[in-house]
Amino acid sequence: MSEFGPTVKAFLHQLILAIFVVIWLIPIYAMVINGLKSEFDVTSTPVFIPPLHPSLTAFAAVWSQLDVPLLNSVIVVIPVSLVATFIGAMAAYYFYLLSVSKRRSLNFMSNTIFSLIALATFMPYQAVIIPLTRIEANWGLLNTYGGAIFAFILFYIPTAALLMSMFMAVLPRDIIDAARIDGSGDLRTFFRIVVPLTIPGIISTLIFNVIEMWNNFFIPLVLFNVAKQTLIPVAVESFTGGYGTLYNESFAAAFLASIIPLLIFIFLGRYFIRGLVTLGTGGKGAV
């Protein structure tokens, strides 16, 4: 590379970035332009060619089907991801305290519970969906927000705790010791020091949780059996029929369904990146 000047090098970097950006944008572009096509155009024109006469008919048609599931998803996913991330962060801090403790019994406890959490994270939720559905049916939670919230909380708190543990591991021990010596209890230390220092990690975990829950298809599929009351991934899927697919409406529905995760990523994405950097460089990104 040394024969290239710095300008050429910078240009190449930008070019490679631009190529990747285009690749990443292709699905969104396709969703938008095909959503703007008529039912005839969408099957008769190539998928990457924009429509000659764009119309919002498809968007309007799916909106009436998607408004309730979209709202349902917002109501379930946003608070649950906030709560799961917060509880996960607290749990991770507790593990951090146990792991730096010199007491062997506490260390053993930390390892055991941590292994259980890892198990809970990596266990396929499909494996426990039947007992879960039975429990929810008994409690009358099927087709309710409560049922979806309970299931998501159950599956995503361990994920959040596991992710946050990785961010906590780089907290300097001296700083936590200093806070203890300064008379600060665990809760105060958590809110005043641990949370501010792990903000990039907390936001990364939050984004990860939002996207995972938002895209989760299987849990709402099982827990809701009324099409109009379900969450967004199931509602989007309902546009693919057994006898035929309205492609323009499918594209429009897919775009509407991905707006919220996209917005979250656009506004909080830099924290997500910073969080990943924190993990890679031993905590410098946190300060």
């Binding site: 010199k102 007491r103 062997r104 300097p172 001296d174 700083i175 010791d177 200093a178 806070a179 203890r180 010596i181 300064d182 008379g183 600060s184 209890g185 005043r192 020091i193 501010p196 220092l197 946190a286 300060v287």
Partner: protein, 353 residues
């Protein structure tokens, strides 16, 4: 409320894999109210563990720790947790909270946040010359300023005891002396009991009233810094406290023979011994000097200038392998010869081990 700190037979054992490592072995220690105790020792001798046990961050394996008459830690149990011990601690890394400005760092430890506290923090900041940086984040401060913020944080809560863990090791050599003087000044001004842990004897000599040398998990010697320097109990202590030339000698009938010199030493048993002489207690000269004894002729190998004096490396004519460091007020041409003189009362004799 400033306290007297007392440790009684404190031991600490860590498990390293399958092995038990005994870091502290029955340490007894008293730091009187308002005194400043220095703990000196090479790395890995348990200095930091001792300090963490006093702070309550570590549990002693056996033994007791008292603040005045109050038992704060006992075998495998912490009775008063660190947050209730009212300790001011300056960490080696300073451990400032990176997300808080200097002022909030200092105020974090103080319970009530009224106007009185603000005034007090500003007074301490004034004393430590950090008043103008109170609204900055730690990352915007120089090393010296960070250290003073850490010191201010430790002092602001009126600690019962101030613990400093290698407080000067992260500072530039240039500002280290002024930092030591400042610590000494505020310690006396606040009248707080203090414990300074360091591997650098200069830290201890400049700050501590009493010093202890920690070797292999216990105090090898406790006394005033001057005592440690002038009458060390062993060659290891002598070496740790300051530079020293170590030679082989023989005691016979109350006379110590070292190199070509003979000194009266009635307090020593006959036999082979180790002899220690500090560089400033040696001199090279062409003639005899009153009050000093001759150790024989030497040849200069190296002569260098170190700020205020010259530093020579000389070897006895008949023993080229032995090298001695001498502090001298004048240089000496390489390979020139002179008589090596020593102050007899400063020659230290240690058991041969």
């Amino acid at each position: 409320m400033v306290v007297t700190v007392k440790l009684s037979k404190v031991t600490k054992t860590f498990k390293k894999g399958k092995r038990n490592v005994e870091v502290l072995r029955g340490v007894d220690l008293v730091v009187e109210r308002g005194a400043c105790m220095g703990v000196l020792g090479p790395s890995g001798t348990g200095k930091t563990t001792l300090m963490r046990i006093i702070a309550g961050l570590e549990v002693p394996s056996s033994g007791e720790v008292y603040f005045d008459d109050k038992l704060v830690s006992t075998s495998n149990r912490i009775i008063v947790p660190p947050e209730n011990r009212n300790i001011g601690m300056v960490f080696q890394s300073w451990a400032l909270y990176p997300n808080m400005k200097a002022y909030d760092n200092i105020a974090f430890a103080v319970k009530n946040k009224g106007e009185e506290t603000r005034k007090k923090i500003e007074e301490i900041a004034e004393l430590l010359d950090i008043l103008h940086v109170l609204d900055r984040y730690p990352r915007e401060l120089s090393g010296g300023q960070q250290q003073r913020v850490a010191l201010a944080r430790a002092l602001a809560k009126d600690p019962s005891i101030l613990v400093l863990d290698e407080p000067f090791s992260n500072l530039d050599a240039r500002i280290r002396d002024s930092a030591r003087a400042l610590v000494k000044k505020v310690q006396k001004e606040f009248g707080v009991t203090a414990l300074v842990v360091s591997h650098d004897p200069a830290d201890i000599f400049s700050v501590a009233d009493v010093a202890g040398v920690l070797l292999d998990g216990n105090f090898a010697q406790v006394g005033s810094p001057l005592e440690l320097y002038d009458s060390p109990v062993s060659a290891r202590v002598a070496r740790l406290v300051g530079e020293i030339n170590e030679l082989d000698g023989v005691v016979e009938g109350g006379k110590l023979r070292v190199l070509r010199g003979v000194v009266e030493r009635r307090d020593c048993q006959d036999g082979n011994v180790k002899v220690g002489i500090r560089p400033e207690d040696l001199r090279v000269s062409e003639t005899e000097v009153q009050g000093m004894i001759s150790l024989g002729k030497v040849r200069a190998k190296v002569s260098s200038y170190t700020g205020s004096s010259f530093r020579l490396v000389v070897s006895p004519l008949e023993e080229e392998k032995v090298e001695l460091y001498v502090n001298s007020d004048r240089p000496m041409p390489i390979n020139s010869e002179a008589v090596l003189l020593a102050k007899p009362e400063k020659i230290k004799v240690f058991k041969n081990n």
